[in-house]
């Protein structure tokens, strides 16, 4: 049996371990990668198994370490550079946007950049404005980068393996709350980069979700299903390249679409997707596409405002009701943020 129940963090850890076994050129490094906490457990066992040559920590030097990853990649190695928060990757934006994304093009296709930048994103626990972003819209804006956001343990495993095998730079974004999710993982299953996945089928309305918003969307769909409203949930999985076909097919079927993004909406991925859908599904749309995302402010610390900052299943339900002309569902007695209840701070 290759099918096993495991957490998302273990999916990540095993994907790296299996790639390191398969290819001696793969190595994993980054700030705090080998300390006892092991990036929330996602690099557990690697230094014991593969030694400090292939799994190591770094000084606090994101910019130079990212350039060093690029230098290693164009020298034939396959680095996985890990950031415990995507917010710290901003210190390396010059290497990412001026170098990593450009170098293949600027070499006339001669250089190959097999490089994975793993980073933890999103809401933790009172993390405030500097430990809470997603930034997939930033990265996907730049030609020359692939951007992947796995939601399930299977995808954490399969997409990371595909990302390591890809000869292009891949930004791999993992929501903090997803780490505790458990699910079946089949080691044989391959998930190519650039494919969306239908998480739940339905006919009334399509919710296209990124990362954690798929958990919220499935929850919203379960609640609406109780009153016979059938929501389809499409997990984008790959921000770039984008699987337009799966999304467009779904929206053509339902005629209604909410883009539930986990990022700011202004100039964001949700705007990109809404544009694609309006363009390709114009005749089938019964209502304009609606977009959900972060409130247009920096993330606040205090809990009541933090709750208002992030989009949730409730926003999806209320937006769906408006689009479909339904009365508001009574949400008393429904429990939301189920993963937060499992989640204990401070990180």
């Amino acid at each position: 049996m290759t099918q096993t129940m495991m957490s998302y963090r273990d999916g990540l850890m095993l994907a790296a371990a299996h790639e390191m076994e398969a290819d001696p050129d793969v190595f994993v490094f980054g700030l705090d990668v080998p300390d006892h906490k092991r990036i929330f457990g996602s690099t557990r066992g690697l230094v014991e198994k593969f030694g400090e040559k292939r799994c190591f920590g770094t000084p606090l030097s994101e910019d130079a370490m990212t350039g060093m990853a690029l230098g290693a990649a164009i020298s034939g190695l396959r680095p996985i550079h890990v950031h415990i928060r995507v917010d710290f990757m901003l210190l390396a934006m010059n290497q990412i946007v001026n170098m990593i994304s450009n170098l293949r093009y600027m070499s006339g296709g001669k250089l190959k950049i097999p490089l994975v930048l793993r980073a933890v994103i999103g809401r933790g626990w009172g993390q405030s404005a500097q430990h809470s972003k997603s930034l997939h819209s930033f990265f996907a804006h730049v030609p020359g980068l692939k951007v992947v956001m796995p939601t399930t343990p299977q995808d954490a495993y399969s997409l990371l393996r595909s990302a390591v095998r890809d000869d292009n730079p891949v930004v791999f974004l993992e929501h903090r709350w997803l780490y505790d999710i458990e699910g079946e993982v089949d080691f044989e299953k391959i998930a190519p980069l650039g494919k969306a996945a239908v998480r739940k089928e339905g006919k009334a309305l399509t919710v296209v979700g990124t990362s954690w918003m798929n958990v919220e969307a499935v929850k919203a769909a379960e609640i609406l299903a109780k009153r016979g409203v059938d929501i389809e949930v499409v997990d984008v999985r790959s921000i770039y390249p984008l699987d337009e076909e799966t999304i467009v097919n779904s929206v053509k079927k339902t005629g209604h679409c909410i883009v539930a993004d986990y990022d700011w909406t202004y100039c964001g991925f949700s705007a990109e997707l809404a544009s694609v859908i309006h363009h390709r599904c114009f005749a089938d749309l019964k209502k304009p596409v609606e977009r959900l995302g972060f409130a247009p402010v920096p993330c606040p610390t205090t809990r009541p405002l933090e709750n208002l900052f992030y989009p949730s299943a409730v926003h999806i339900i209320r937006t769906a009701e408006k689009m479909l002309g339904l009365s508001p569902t009574d949400l008393d007695g429904e429990s939301f943020y189920s993963y937060e209840n499992k989640f204990k701070g401070p990180f």
Binding site: D32, D35, G57, L60, G126, Q127, T301, T302, L305
Partner: protein, 324 residues
């Protein structure tokens, strides 16, 4: 000797600040498990003497910048326990109305200008404040506090260079606990002496045991005097022992990355005990110290109660303060 450099009043004032910082953080440790303070806390127990001592040597007009490990600096500069706990509880009476939490505390009206939870990012800000001082012809020094980990960031060295180039009156203060989260300096540094490198940039420099408040003050005074005589930047490196985990209210010696200090070492590593000892040796009555402790504890308890009872910011506060 303490008496050589501090008056009795100064010593008592400093003791009060030490106890204020320590008791505030001990209060956090007691209350944290109730899950009402929903903000990650990077406690500075063991390192209180550094910001308290440095700021004692400078006039109140001195602007300061810091990190997420900022409680002692905040309290040393403001003594504002109401605002402090208000912010930690995420309440409207916090200086940032709960938006900042522990990691981003500041009080610009008291010259505690900004802190950041992205390592090294306030160092260049201090450079800008020092630049503004020279621009306006002000004699003031600017201080910036950072951990030993921040020294590895490029922005640190770029700032050192510019400060030296422009002879800015900026005091770089390294709060050196030898750790970046769980990683020792020897695992991160390819050089031996930070002070020697910085000296090559034509910096004034000073270093010492940050657990010894008197020493912090002696070294800081020496360096600030040099900065006043002939303008230029300085670096102070003070070592200290971080008593608790990197973030959170517990000890984590069982994690295995470092040793728990022996009981006989605690007296040397704990700046409060150490200063208390010195005060007693200098002839101060134990009752005088006890009175200070009681007064401070009452003040803290009142502030915590106020914070617990204060309202959260209203929903519309979410959208306030983004732009003017």
């Amino acid at each position: 000797m303490m008496q050589d450099i501090l008056t009795k009043e100064e010593s008592l004032g400093l003791y009060r600040k030490l106890v204020l910082a320590r008791f505030c953080e001990e209060k956090i440790c007691q209350e944290y498990f109730k899950d009402e303070m929903k903000t990650p806390v990077h406690l500075g127990i063991g390192g209180e003497g550094i910001p308290i001592g440095v700021h004692h040597c400078l006039p109140p007009s001195t602007k300061a910048f810091g990190t997420y490990r900022n409680h002692s600096l905040y309290l040393a500069m403001t003594e504002d326990t109401d605002g402090f706990f208000g912010e930690l509880y995420g309440k409207r009476n916090g200086p940032a109305k709960g938006k900042a939490g522990s990691m981003h505390l500041s009080l610009p009206e008291k010259n505690f200008v900004a802190t950041s939870a992205v390592v090294g990012t306030t160092v260049p800000l201090a450079l800008g404040a020092a630049f503004a001082n020279t621009y306006r012809g002000s004699d003031d020094v600017v201080t910036v506090f950072f951990g030993d980990g921040a020294v590895e960031e490029g922005a640190f060295w770029e700032s050192i260079n510019f400060a030296a180039l422009r002879r800015l009156k900026i005091l770089f203060v390294c709060e050196d606990n030898g750790l970046a989260i769980h990683t020792h300096a020897r695992q991160r540094r390819g050089f031996k002496s930070l002070l020697n490198i910085v000296e090559a940039f034509d910096f004034y420099k000073g270093s010492g045991d940050g657990s010894d408040l008197t020493e912090v003050i002696r070294v800081t005074r020496q360096v600030t005097r040099q900065m006043q005589d002939k303008p230029g930047p300085a670096l102070l490196n003070f070592t200290y022992h971080r008593f608790l985990e990197h973030v959170g209210p517990r000890e984590d010696f069982d994690a295995g990355y470092r040793q728990k200090p022996e009981p006989e070492d605690i007296k040397r590593l704990d700046p409060v005990l150490r200063f208390e000892e010195e005060l007693k040796e200098s002839g101060l009555q134990a009752q005088a110290l006890e009175a200070i402790r009681c007064e401070v504890q009452e003040k803290i308890d009142r502030s915590v109660k106020t914070a617990q009872q204060a309202p959260f910011p209203p929903p519309e506060e979410l959208f306030a303060d983004v732009l003017i």
